[in-house]
């Protein structure tokens, strides 16, 4: 079975690195690259063979409802592919980038633990198990945010840890309430028993989870930890956090819990809509005023997460498709943008937009790919961000919510404006910069080129035919809410 391997491989690599990587950092690099390549192949393979099916795996052969099960349905598979792509490019990018921070092996060990946590979260069928994996990922993330070792990085990590713990407490509280009411921690069993219980209690648990996982998602007003944490972390980690962590721990769990377990109650869908809209607008207004490139990008994560929540809240199949599509696209272009920021920081020693200028001559790959990523996130055809935003706008109007469509439109306009700012000051400014502090090596360039190509190629997911084959099974998992329960229990 491939399911447990997807968790075991990164976990094992993390321990192997700590055992043998202590003296020679190169071993850690090789091990990590090896592991992420295997994970990429395995997740692609499992996503393809899964098709529209669902695979389950009972740990230690204890059947539901006694044991912990791993579930790989198209949604989980899709998340795995996304995580694998970003972690692969991040590992590639880290080879040179992390060298200047020393003690690489610790970094790679934490990196693999982060990956373990995320893979675990998206595959587990047990809610407490999910909590444990989430904490693994979070603690690795706290460590990685502080990895640079500067004062503000410790501060950011500390804030992140405090707010992360607050949310974890809220989530744990919710899990405890659920367990006391249903006597089970398996999500499919919970989904089966919840309709029989007092609905007020169910909504209450929903409220707790909404707040707890809303914080992991960084939706307004639970967003305040994100800009500090994401901008202080080393660039490849920023891209892991912004690109996949907030989605694996946040959006994915929200989808799984509110759609598959609770059956998408009206109240929470409205909450998704409202939180999404607020996040889009406030996030983008906060972003446009920033001069630190990574901080600007971090605020945009809040705003883009808003689009995903908006799509989920509309809840029509088209809107869900838009949300899932945008989630994937956002992972690609936001990671790419963080790599760009990282490579600028490495090459010039600053990421303050005011000190940058025309970089197209000294950093051709960085400025070229940053242009593609900026156009993607701003929603300019033919790049992927355009299509997912278009789908969300169409869905909003189709379901009779033109006001939310207008919010998306205004958000998109301001996103464009702020990325024009990035391009104007950061990459095509007046000042022609001739000298670099460090050279940007091939591995960093390769990581950026990979994602830039993907930004264009994934636009093809909109084409009828390709869309039905790849995206529809994922969307069906979300729209056919109770199907999850039947499929998982069916074994």
């Amino acid at each position: 079975m491939i399911l447990p391997l997807l968790i075991i491989v990164p976990l094992l690599t993390a321990f192997l690195i700590t055992f043998i990587g202590g003296k020679k950092d190169t071993a850690a690099v090789i091990l990590t690259l090896f592991a992420v390549t295997i994970l990429l192949c395995m997740s692609l393979y499992s996503f393809i063979i899964t098709g529209a099916q669902t695979q389950t795996y009972q740990m230690s052969a204890w059947a539901i409802p006694y044991g912990i099960s791993l579930v790989l349905d198209p949604l989980s598979g899709f998340m795995m592919v996304m995580i694998a792509i970003i972690s692969f490019t991040s590992a590639l990018f880290s080879i040179q980038y992390i060298r200047h921070l020393q003690q690489d092996w610790k970094y790679y060990a934490l990196f693999m633990l982060l990956l373990t946590g995320m893979n675990g979260v998206v595959m587990t069928g047990d809610i407490f198990n999910l909590f444990v994996f989430m904490e693994i990922a979070l603690f690795a993330a706290f460590g990685l945010v502080a990895f640079g070792g500067k004062a503000e990085e410790y501060e950011a990590a500390f804030k992140y840890a405090v707010m992360g713990s607050v949310s974890s407490t809220i989530i744990l509280f919710g899990i405890a309430v659920i367990y006391s009411a249903t006597s089970s921690l398996t999500m499919s069993v919970i989904a089966q028993r919840l309709p029989l219980l007092d609905q007020k209690m169910v909504l209450w648990v929903g409220g707790l989870f909404m707040a707890g996982f809303g914080l992991k998602t960084a939706a307004m007003p639970f967003h305040a930890w994100l800009p500090d944490a994401h901008s202080s972390a080393p660039a490849p980690i920023s891209s892991m956090l912004s690109g996949v962590l907030i989605k694996a721990l946040g959006v994915y769990v929200l989808i799984r819990f509110f759609f598959n377990v609770l059956g998408a109650p009206r109240l929470f869908l409205t909450l998704f809509l409202v939180l999404g809209s607020i996040s889009i607008l406030v996030g983008v207004f906060l972003a446009i005023g920033q001069w630190d490139m990574k901080r600007l990008l971090a605020y945009h994560s809040i705003s883009q997460i808003g689009y995903i929540l908006l799509g989920l809240g509309l809840a029509s199949p088209l809107a869900i498709f838009g949300a899932v599509f945008h989630m994937f696209n956002h992972a690609l272009f936001k990671s790419l943008l963080f790599y760009n920021a990282g490579s600028v920081e490495l090459a010039l020693g600053t990421r303050n937009l005011k000190h940058l200028g025309n970089l197209s001559r000294i950093l051709p790959v960085t400025s070229g790919t940053s242009m593609i990523a900026s156009l993607s996130i701003s929603g300019i055809p033919p790049f992927n961000g355009f299509f997912s935003k278009l789908v969300i706008i169409i869905a909003a109007i189709k379901t009779g919510h033109p006001v939310y469509a207008l919010v998306a439109v205004v958000g998109s306009l301001l996103t464009l404006a702020s990325f024009m700012k990035v391009q104007r000051y950061g990459f095509h400014g007046e000042k022609i910069i001739e000298k670099t502090v460090n050279k940007v090596g091939w591995s960093m360039n390769l990581a950026m080129i990979c994602l830039a190509v993907l930004c264009l190629v994934t636009s093809a997911l909109i084409i009828p035919g390709i869309r039905e084959a790849i995206m529809d099974p994922v969307v069906n998992v979300i729209t056919q809410k109770s199907q999850y329960l039947h499929v998982v229990m069916g074994r």
Binding site: K200, A211, L416
Partner: protein, 606 residues
């Protein structure tokens, strides 16, 4: 040739050329582009023979071309071909490769916009044309290039999102159209319909450069390569923007008289604001850029008025404008490439050194100023007549309103002439600075391009009825269900030409008969005037700049109080500052936000 194949070729051929151009050196790029664009002109000829082409995929109609589309397509190909001739030699070496890569790409996407019947394809091509504009803007070499490129794309790309919103809203306001653009016909009777109408208007105005979304045009004209200024804001973007406006007025929306009047007013404001700004410019390209805006006003008036004659005049003015304005940009470009300057204060006296360019510039300037018998006069005259005809059916209050707009438009035309006298004088007449004594005439490809455009100015002026109107514009009217308009007054270009010629001849006879001219040096205080006392063409207009009521207006304009882009960015940054005050980095505060969030949830659930 199969008509639906032609439609594919119109996009695919230039696109293929662009793909080829990414691999080959500039010389081959030029050869490929030249023959590729020549071929698209041939394709247009075939389309004229077989005008009802369309292409479907499954049950969706993707591409269609009707008479309006064909009309615009024809001029896209023509203008891009002529401007390419200008670009064959003398492009800025640093960006030559990129320019020649973008050029066919832009033609491909602009063709795509016009032939798309499917709403989504239309949106995609429209967005791509905006992207092409941005990439051209980045090729500029001036210090302000980054700023201008940013501004241009924020306005153009930002208006695209509104286009998306508007078209999608229309699609769902009128179900059953299966994403066909031409099947839509919306009456403005609910908020969503109004929102869609305004959104489309924003997109059309931004693209064409209508007030108040025009501010990118002068900046782009100043900072981007001069060929691209002639290519995009003066020609292709005008064609696209006004095409959208014409579609809105003919098939997409059903609007009432008041709305027509509002659009006419916006047009009149565009004319007068832009021409006032143009008069005081010292940079030749910026002056032309403001005129590119001001002329859009006439098109908006014509097409927005809802009167057939004015509508036809608006379309005619559109093509006239693309012709004479690219002519003027290219003439200025020739001067700039020889002298290295486009500053009206520095240039002067080049008429003798560059006679061909001078003649072309005169023809362009007379056309834009609406001097008969050139083409610009004919279309403006049609628009004025159309407005008078429209006034017949209005209430007295509306008549006065319309009359004010008409006066503004006519006044704008007079100011245009004033401003072009300055333009011609500053570059070609007056005393030549010593440093320009060794300047030579522009290269053969450059005056050939401007010459072709000038010839079109004259041809469309003298044979306005026979060629452009009857062959190209009347079919559009017939197809849209309009009657062929009747002219109110009598105007015969050939007669006027005859009269002007007679007057001119008489003038020459009088001159020859009384020829008594003495040439002298200028003296100042008994000394021959020094270089620094040279009178520049811009000098006279400083009076206008400092005139009492106008002075405040110009001061405000220079502080960018009328620039919607600047106002928008001020608003955005003040709001951003406000939000940032709520994020001082204090953990306690952030945890408080979380608690408030949780409490709100709990209260909602209660």
């Amino acid at each position: 040739m199969d008509a639906s194949l032609i439609l594919i070729y119109l996009v695919a051929v230039p696109l293929g050329i662009a793909a080829l151009n990414s691999l080959v050196p500039p010389l081959l790029q030029k050869v490929f582009t030249f023959f590729g664009l020549a071929y698209t002109i041939v394709l247009i000829y075939y389309l004229f023979l077989e005008p009802a082409a369309s292409l479907s995929y499954m049950d969706l109609t993707l591409f269609t071309v009707d008479r309006l589309g064909l009309f615009v397509l024809a001029f896209i190909q023509l203008l891009s071909f002529i401007i390419l001739i200008f670009s064959l030699h003398g492009l800025d070496k640093a960006n030559e490769k990129k320019f020649l890569l973008l050029y066919p790409l832009t033609v491909a996407v602009c063709n795509g916009v016009i032939i798309s019947e499917n709403i989504l394809l239309f949106i995609i091509f429209w967005g791509l044309s905006g992207l092409a504009l941005y990439l051209f803007a980045l090729l500029g070499q001036t210090a302000d290039t980054p700023k201008t490129a940013k501004k241009t794309f924020i306005i153009i790309g930002g208006s695209d999102v509104f286009l998306i919103f508007g078209l999608v809203a229309m699609r769902f306001l009128q179900p059953g159209t299966n994403w066909s653009l031409f099947g839509l016909h919306i009456t403005l009777n609910c908020e969503l319909a109004w929102a869609a109408f305004i959104s489309l208007l924003i997109a059309a105005f931004a693209k064409a450069g209508g007030f108040p979304l025009h501010t990118w045009v002068p900046d782009f004209s100043k900072d981007a390569p001069v060929e691209s200024a002639a290519f995009l804001p003066a020609s292709l973007d005008k064609l696209l923007g006004i095409y959208l406006l014409a579609r809105m007025m003919t098939i997409l929306f059903e609007i009432n008289v008041t709305m027509h009047l509002v659009i006419v007013t916006l047009g009149a404001l565009t004319v007068i604001f832009a021409v006032m700004m143009a008069m005081i410019q010292h940079n030749g390209r910026k002056l032309l850029g403001y005129h590119a805006v001001s002329q859009v006003g006439y098109m908006i008036i014509g097409i927005g008025s809802g009167c057939v004659l004015a509508f036809a005049g608006g379309l005619f003015h559109l093509v006239n404008h693309t012709i004479y304005k690219s002519n003027l940009f290219l003439a200025l470009g020739s001067v700039e490439k020889q002298t290295g300057s486009n500053d009206l204060d520095e240039l002067g006296g080049l008429g003798k050194k560059m006679p061909l360019t001078f003649i072309m510039a005169i023809i362009g300037a007379f056309s834009i100023s609406g001097i008969p018998p050139f083409n610009g006069f004919f279309s403006k005259w049609m628009i004025y007549q159309g407005l008078l005809e429209m006034a017949r059916d209005l209430t007295p209050a509306q008549q006065i309103w319309l009359l004010i707009c008409l006066i503004l438009a006519v006044f704008g035309s007079a100011l245009t002439l004033a401003s072009f006298l300055k333009f011609l004088h500053a570059i070609f007449l007056g005393k030549r600075p010593a440093k320009y004594n060794r300047i030579r005439e522009a290269g053969i490809n450059q005056w050939l391009a401007t010459g072709l455009l000038s010839a079109l100015c004259i041809l469309f002026g003298l044979f306005a009825l026979q060629i452009p109107l009857q062959k190209l514009i009347y079919p559009v009217l017939v197809e849209s269900g309009y009657p062929i308009p009747e002219f109110l007054g009598t105007y015969n270009p050939l007669l006027v030409l005859g009269l002007v010629t007679i007057a001119f001849l008489v003038g020459i006879i009088v001159y020859l008969a009384t020829k008594n001219v003495r040439y002298d040096e200028n003296y100042l205080g008994g000394m021959p005037a020094l270089e620094k006392y040279r009178i520049t063409g811009t000098g006279f207009y400083n009076e206008i700049r400092n005139m009492r009521p106008l002075q405040q207006f110009y001061n405000a304009a220079e502080k960018k109080y009328f620039d919607i882009y600047d106002l928008g960015s001020r608003f955005t940054f003040s709001l951003s500052g406000l939000f940032q005050k709520g994020h001082p980095g204090q953990l306690q505060l952030y945890v408080l936000y979380i608690l408030i969030g949780v409490l709100v949830f709990m209260m909602l659930i209660r």
